[in-house]
Each structure stands twice: as C-alpha cells, then as structure tokens.
C-alpha cells in the first residue's frame, strides 16, 4: 500500500519534502494566528464575505499582483518582467509539472515531490524528434527559460539597479542573503539536473534536450544524474527552511493579505493579526525607497518603509520612528498596496499620556444657524492672509456663512492621530462632530487639507458636506457666484500630500489654476512633501528646509512666476526657501476677484455674526 502511494520514489526527495513540510506547517500556523488576531468585527467581515463575489475578485488580484506583478510594471518594465518571470514562471513550472505527472500516473493525489522531480522519474520525449512538438516537456522548458531570463535580470540588477528603474535598493539581512542565494541556485541547478537526466536518456525538449546531448557528447552523464538531483533537492530545502525567517515569506503571505483586504479588513490597532500579516507581506522590494524625499535629505538614515517594516517585524527598537513625514509617497508606490501610514501611526501609539482636550464649543453662534461653516484650522491661523481672502470670497459670493474657529482654539484631531494618539484624536472628534451637527450647517468648508482629510475619513457627519476651499471656490466660479480675472502669469501647483494623495482631491485645484493663471506649468511628478509635515515631529528644521528646497527645485522645472498651493502649512514651508511668491489658492482668487455689488441683505447677515477673523491668528 505504502509503496503504491509513494511510488515513484528516490531518497533525495526527502530533503525537499522535509523543507516543504516545514514551510507548510509554519504557514498554516501563521494563518491561524493571523485570523485569531482579527478583531470581532473583522472576523465578521471575513465570514460574511468569504462566500461572495469578493473571493473571485481577490483571486483575480492574486493572479494580477502576486503572479504577474502588474504594479511593478508601472515602476519599470524591466523590473516588472524580472518579478513576473520569477513568480509566474515558477508557478507555471509547478502547474504544468503537476498536470504532466497526473497525466502520466493517472493519479490525482500523490506526494508533492512527484511532480517537482517529475523529469527524474520520466525523462520526456526522445531527443531531438520530440523536442519541438508542443508537449509537456516543451512547455516546461519554455517556462524554465522564462524563469532563467528573469534570474539573469535579477543578477544584473544587483550591479546596475538603475537600469531596472531603481536608484537605491534595500540592504539585505544575513538570513535574506542565504535565502536569496538558495533561490538563485534553484533554477540553474534544476536546468543542470534535468539536462543531465535528458542527456543520459537521450530525451528532452529544446532546452534540456539540446543541453543534455551537448554534455553527453563529451562526458559520461550517468554518475552525475543522481548527485545533481540531490543538490537540487538540497537547495530547495535550504530555501524552504530559511523562508519563514526572511522577506521571502511574502510569497505565501501576500495572497492571504489580498483576500482579507478584499473582504474589507483594514489595518487597525484592534486587529494585530492583520497588521502582522501586512508586515509579513512586505517583500522588501525597495520600490518605496526612491520616492522617499528623506532618502536625499537624510542619507544613511533608514527611514524608508522597507526598512521600517523590517524593524517592527523583527521587534527591534526603531530610532527613526519619529522621522517619517507620513507624506504617503511610499504607500502610493508600494506594489503590495500595504497600508504603511496606519502601520506607522499605530507603531507610535501609546507613547504618551492621552490628550484630554478641553474644547471648545463654537462661541457666538447667537442661536442662528448658517448654511456654511468655515473651519480655518490651526495652521491657517498662522497665515491670516488666507483667512482674510476666504472672508472676502465668502462675502463676495453672498453666502450665509459662519467662522467656526475664529478664536483659533479648535483642533481637528489629525495631528494627534499622526502622532499615534488615537484616543485623544477620537475624543476631539466626538466633541467636534456633535458641535458641527448641532450648528445646523449643510456645508463645512476648510482651508486646511489636514483637517479636510480627517473630516472626510473619520468624522461621521450626516447631512453635512465637507469641502476643501479649492473645491468650494471652483464651485462658486462655475455657478457664477464670483467672477475672476485671469492673471497674466505662469503658475505651478504644489499638491499638498493630505489633499492630493491623502484625500484624492487632484482635479479641482488644477481646474481652478487654469481659470486663474495664463499657463499651468506644473511638472508631471507625483505630489511632493513640503517638509512641513506634521507626520514627522522628530525632524530638525535643517532637514525640513532641505526637503522643502528639494521639492522647490523640482516644482520650478517649468519656470513658474508663482507657486500656488492649497495648504497653509505648505505655504509656510516653501516661503523661506522660494525665490518666487508662494500663494494659497484663496489668496490668488481674492487677488483676481472682480468686485461685485453683493445683495445687501446677505452681506448684512454675514457681517453681524462673524467674529473678527484676522485678530485670532
């Protein structure tokens, strides 16, 4: 009975089988731990969605991302090809090997090693007659060649990573190096072992067959066959035994992540299992390193997500925890789609005593409710000209509006969230939410993208639409509530991280820019961080200025006469390093505004209930 199950058999398969069983058991254990570590609501999401269409969608994404690596093609075609050939090629080798062995043994269930070492047990068609007929052996050779071509790219990348679109690559840990060596050896040794078998038996397809007959023409291959298969089995074992402790554990983890993500599970403090899964799914590919502006401003400091994920995965203390600006450029670039910003924020959690905010109701509402609530935000209070401009625009448009934080005391809570103090942020959220809803407003306009993001993402404000002032102003212009004169200058737009990448408001500011200025000379680059970010409190002023200068350089590529931004903090960061004027949208709109006579009754109502805004700053 046993003989029938394990047939065909040779002792060398034991090495591979041991490695495979180890990695399989470890993976299963991890999957159980990940699911155990989900919060109750996340577990519910899992059970509710597992038998839905989402599973199929996730499967599609697994094929697209884990096998074909579509996102990496977006970084660089050669880099994408390298990843695709290794992953997809290897997968096809496994798949075709399996089909071939099932076809020949007519047994659906058999030990895994049978298909892996199939060429040893069944040398394939006779060479050269069967070499070019598209049978199993042909396809196996084709995909082996495919993998080997990817391997050639991988080796080339070690020396000239720039040719594969990467200025910098990750430095590897010792365990990673061992696994990498084993991985690189697997395919050449497989080629040699298969060629030797084919050469000794006069069989094989175009690659293994021709190589085999070439070897056979000057040496006797018979004594080499078995040692080569032993070596092949050994490198597979070495790879599998190191895999759980290296970055290569992303290979089994990433598909699990894709499934759970499709079911709607997100990184949160309540689900440590999902966070651990995300950390494991990071392949340390290093695509996140080049987009990081701190790679230039703070060379040598391993702030980039690829390194940061490694330190928390290995539970090591991080000395760069407070340095990341959380601009989100790495998150956008990440081919695995990891939620790097929440992971970073949560790693900062519980570092201090929680904030007891003693807010801050809206004073002076006078029992009146206005349609629009204007929330300037802390940062805007440091740039009073934005508040002045917004006042002018509101008044010109004849809107019924009220300045919510005219006294400058209210905070949206996002700065606390960025510093990892979720509890404090939530307390503020609760208070403000209640106050906003009680105000009876329908529209909440804010000048600060930081506030805009948290209002949109975290606040629950039924019946209140949240707009950033760029969106609001654009609407006013489109509805002809205000009219602007186009300026004769060329302008470049600096996209604030929190507004563009963070909240997805990319279209409206550009549209507004085209209405205000003669020519839009914004360079075609992913939004840069101004260096002023609240995300990285640990950065010194010198570093912040260096980041701002770098960004300013890139933004001036089109020789703009004026730099326009949509964030008071960006304005403050760029002003000291810029040769050209830096303005917020509201300021340029206020400048270009064509004064109109406003309906007197509306103007009256706004004036009486508005506090003096400029004094508050």
């Amino acid at each position: 009975m046993l003989e029938r199950i394990f047939h065909p058999f040779d002792p060398f398969v034991l090495l591979f089988t041991a490695g495979m069983s180890f990695v399989g058991t470890f993976f299963l254990y991890k999957v159980i731990r990940w699911i155990e570590g989900l919060s109750a609501s996340d577990k519910e999401l899992l059970t509710n969605n597992i038998f839905s269409k989402k599973t199929w969608k996730a499967l599609g994404e697994v094929v697209r991302e884990s096998l074909l690596h579509k996102k990496i093609f977006g970084v660089n075609v050669r880099l994408g090809y390298m990843h695709m050939s290794l992953a997809f090629g290897w997968f096809m080798l496994i798949l075709i090997g399996n089909i071939e062995s099932v076809y020949y043994t007519s047994r659906l269930f058999k030990p895994i090693y049978v298909s892996v070492f199939w060429r040893f047990f069944e040398p394939g068609p006779t060479f050269p007659q069967g070499a070019y007929t598209p049978g199993f052996a042909f396809w196996m050779d084709l995909f082996l060649l495919f993998v080997l071509s990817g391997l050639a790219f991988a080796i080339y990348k070690r020396f000239h990573s720039i040719r594969l679109g990467m200025k910098r690559t990750t430095r590897q840990r010792p365990a990673d190096r061992i696994a990498l060596t084993a991985l690189w050896l697997i395919f050449p040794i497989r080629l040699l072992a298969e060629s030797a078998t084919c050469g000794a038996n006069g069989s094989g397809s175009f690659l293994t067959g021709s190589l085999g007959s070439l070897f056979a023409s000057f040496i006797n291959l018979d004594p080499l066959v078995l040692p080569l298969w032993w070596t092949y089995s050994f490198v597979l074992m070495a790879f599998f035994f190191t895999l759980p402790f290296t970055r290569y554990f992303h290979i089994p983890s990433e598909p699990v992540l894709i499934f759970l993500r499709k079911y709607g599970i997100r990184v949160s403090k309540e689900s440590p299992g999902y966070t651990d899964l995300s950390l494991r799914a990071c392949s340390s590919c290093g695509v996140c390193i080049d987009p990081c502006q701190l790679a230039d401003a703070l060379p040598g400091r391993k702030i980039q997500s690829s390194y940061f994920v490694k330190t928390i995965r290995h539970n090591e203390p991080s000395d760069v925890q407070w340095d990341c600006m959380q601009c989100g450029r790495c998150e956008k670039a990440c081919p695995v789609g990891l939620e790097l910003m929440p992971i970073r924020q949560n790693s900062r959690a519980d570092l201090s005593f929680g904030t007891k905010s003693n807010l801050i109701g809206m004073n002076g509402r006078n029992g009146q409710s206005h349609r629009i609530l204007y929330f300037a935000g802390c940062m805007t209070h440091l740039t009073p000209s934005i508040i002045r401009s917004m006042t002018k625009i509101f008044d010109q448009s004849g809107s019924s509006w009220q300045f919510y934080d005219s006294d400058g005391r209210a905070c949206c809570g996002r700065p606390l969230k960025l510093a990892g103090q979720t509890d404090g942020a939530n307390r503020i959220k609760e208070q403000l939410q209640k106050d906003f809803l009680a105000s009876g407003a329908e529209l909440l306009v804010t000048s600060c993208p930081i506030c805009y993001r948290i209002f949109n993402e975290d606040y629950d404000l039924p019946g209140i639409r949240v707009l950033h002032h760029t969106q609001y102003i654009l609407q006013l212009i489109e509805w002809n509530r205000i009219q602007v004169d186009q300026s004769k200058l060329n302008a470049a737009y600096h996209e604030p991280c929190e507004l563009g990448r963070g909240s997805g408001v990319t279209h409206e500011p550009r549209e507004l820019l085209s209405k205000l200025y003669l020519k839009d000379v914004t360079p075609d680059i992913e939004g840069l961080c101004c260096g002023g970010s609240l995300g990285g409190p640990g950065l010194t002023l010198a570093t912040r200025r260096a980041v701002a200068r770098g960004a300013m350089n890139d933004l001036s590529a089109g020789k703009p006469d004026v730099l326009i931004t949509a964030c008071p903090l960006c304005k403050k960061s760029f002003s000291p390093v810029s040769d050209i004027p830096v303005m917020d949208f509201s300021e340029s709109v206020a400048q270009c505004l064509i004064e109109q006579s406003v309906q007197p009754e509306l103007r009256k109502s706004t004036k009486t209930h508005r506090k003096l805004p400029v004094d508050a700053g």
Binding site: L351, F353, S357, C378, P415, Q421
Partner: protein, 122 residues
C-alpha cells in the same frame, strides 16, 4: 532698619526657591539628548502665545519646559501637558527653529510612567 520693607516681591517664603545643589535635572538632560535644538531656546514665549491649549487655559508650554530645565516640575505641572493637541503651531512660530512639537512628545514619553502611576486619571 526696623520692620520689613515691601519690594513687591518676596524671596523668602513660598515654594519657588530652587536648591541648585539638589535640583533634579535628569529629565532636562534626557530631553537635551533627544531634542538637541532645545538648547537654543531663549524662552521668548512665542510657543505659549500661539498655543490653542494655552489660550484655552491649562497649559503654559514655555513655563513648563523652562521649569524642566531648572528642576523636575510637579506632577500637577506635568499633567497640564495632557491638554496639548500636538497641533504644531508652536513649532512654526519658534524663532529658534526648535521642534517644540517633538519636545512635547518627548516630555510626555519620558514622564508617562511617572505621571500615570501618580495620577491615574491622566
């Protein structure tokens, strides 16, 4: 001269005297290591002037970090920091470019056990 003269202030009574031989400045030296630029502070008070929590009462950031330099503040003084919103306005107005937001985080981080043990409500 008989009797006491009133100069408008008093150096004898009250608890504001600091015995420099015994003052606990360990927190200050730890903070100086963590936030180097803090040494450049001129105590101008811009941070406290712009502070939303300061305007709202409760926190006087300038006073707090000046006090830390002299000696360990009382628990009551330290716990006022729990109203810090970490909004970062102080950092933007600081004429010496000190990352005051980070200073606040570091004070919280370094004193959290001390404060939590003694004032559980914080």
């Amino acid at each position: 001269m008989a009797g006491k003269r009133n100069f408008g202030f008093d150096i004898q009574g009250g608890g504001r005297q600091i015995d420099l031989d015994h003052a606990d400045t360990s927190l200050a030296s730890e903070l100086k290591d963590a936030v180097n630029a803090w040494s450049a502070c001129i105590n101008c008070g811009s941070c406290a002037a712009t502070c939303p929590s300061g305007q709202n009462g409760g926190l006087n950031f300038r006073k707090l970090h000046y006090q830390i330099r002299l000696e360990l503040p009382t628990l009551q003084e330290l716990s006022t920091l729990s109203s810090c919103l970490l909004c970062g306005k102080c950092q933007l107005v600081c004429p010496r470019g000190i990352p005051t937001r980070y200073l606040s985080i570091q004070i919280m981080q370094k004193t959290k056990h001390y404060v939590r043990e003694n004032i559980p409500s914080v």
